[in-house]
Every structure is written in structure tokens, then in C-alpha cells.
Symmetry: C2
Subunit: 136 residues, 2 copies
């Protein structure tokens, strides 16, 4: 199958498939005489794996490791679990950071009248905050 079909079947855009190939994440497929890339069902499988990994927030480098673990039938499941749990912690940390920002801002907004008057504690806070406090 051509790259377009592989893209549709895997949920990875043709653009990204070529990119993944260029960075060595996936192996270059065979080519027709006209240089068209030719994919097999198994390649689509790999692309879906990558797609799933990305959807779960793994970077391409992490995805590279996961692919290696996937292909290495002799690796311990503990290796995978460790990588996964480390990622879970990162995700939860980032989620908490965003939530903290939202909470801070929501709190500031609480004290803002939100009417025609110009006074606004939100901007007042922005203007008054010192750089060390600013780590929010």
C-alpha cells in the first residue's frame, strides 16, 4: 500500500510518516520503481503503536524506547512498567501545574467585579508581583 493508505489506516499523517522515517523512528520501507514508498500491514501496526504512544503523551524519543522494548521480546515487563510509571508521574506533575495556574487565576478573577468599572485585581496582581513570587 502507498503512504496515503498507510496514513489513513494508522491515523498518522503522511507528513509525519515521512518525518518519523527521516529521524530513524521507523525503518525505511521498500520503494517502487518510481520511488513510491510501499508499506505492509505490519508497518501500519508499528505506526499505530507510535500513534498510541503519542496520544498518551510520550515524546518521540520515549516512543523510540518503547518501540525498542516492544521489539525486544526478552526484556522484562518491569522495564516497561518503570518507564510507564515515570511518565505517569510527569503527566500528573504537569497536570497539577496547570491546575495550580488555573486556581490562582480563578481566585484572582473572583475578586474582579467584571463590570463596566476599570478596577481589576487581576491586572493589579500582575503588575505588583515580584519576580521571586512569580514562579507560580
Amino acid at each position: 500500500m502507498n503512504i496515503g493508505e498507510a496514513a489513513t489506516r494508522s491515523g498518522v499523517s503522511a507528513k509525519m510518516i515521512r518525518y518519523y522515517e527521516s529521524i530513524g523512528l521507523i525503518t525505511p520501507p521498500a520503494r517502487t520503481a518510481a520511488q513510491y514508498r510501499v508499506y505492509a500491514a505490519d508497518d501500519v501496526h508499528t505506526l499505530r503503536f507510535v500513534r498510541r504512544s503519542r496520544d498518551l503523551g510520550f515524546s518521540l524519543e520515549e516512543t523510540r524506547e518503547l518501540l525498542a522494548l516492544w521489539r525486544d521480546k526478552s526484556r522484562a515487563s518491569a522495564d516497561v512498567k518503570n518507564l510507564a510509571m515515570a511518565h505517569v508521574r510527569e503527566l500528573e506533575e504537569k497536570a497539577a501545574e496547570l491546575k495550580a495556574m488555573a486556581d490562582t487565576l480563578r481566585h484572582l478573577a473572583t475578586h474582579c467585579h467584571g463590570d463596566h468599572r476599570p478596577d481589576c485585581p487581576i491586572l493589579a496582581d500582575f503588575a505588583a508581583t515580584t519576580p521571586t513570587q512569580g514562579k507560580a
Copy 2:
């Protein structure tokens, strides 16, 4: 004061100060005969404002709007509040997305032995997931 001191006082790196100037986020300061940028206390104030805005997750474009609102003494506080609350919703959405990823992955990890054996439901899921499910 020179850019270095403005950077220290504001918590914005000299590199970023120059960049903010180049994209018109802040107004170009006066220069010495030797082309050194010269900042006043008020400029540091503005930089802190930007820093605070960034720390709360606003993009530079959003920060630009906030700066405009800040300087416009006649704008209604409702304008600011609307912008802020829209951002709060965005932040909470992103936080929820990350949390969902973490939950999914944590769930998968629950079923992974995490020992020396190679079987791993995490990778099995990655390999089996179809593109439409993959939206995670």
C-alpha cells in the same frame, strides 16, 4: 540600568527582553551612545507583568492583549475577567487531558506484572489499539 540588571530585577532573561522588544511586545528603550539599552524602573514593572502573565500560562499574544488592557485605564474590568476566565477554562481542559492520559496509562500499568517476565499489557495495548480508539 542596563539589560542585565533589568533581567535580574524582572526575572526575565536578557535574551527574552530583546526578543519581546523585537516582536513589539514591549517598547524599545532608550540607548546609550554605545547602543546599550537603558531601562527605567517602569520598564522592569512591565517586564514583571509579562513574566507573571507567562507564569500563569498566557501566550505572548494573550500577554500582549493583557498589557493593552492594563495600559487602557478606561477598559471595563469585565473585559479582563472574560479573558482570564476563558484562559482558566483552557488550562483546566489541558490539565484534564493530561490527567486522562495519566489515568489510562496507570490503569494499563496496573495489569503489568512488572517483573522479569516479558509479557506486558501496556505494550500489548499500544500494539492493538486502532486509530479511532487512539484519540485517548
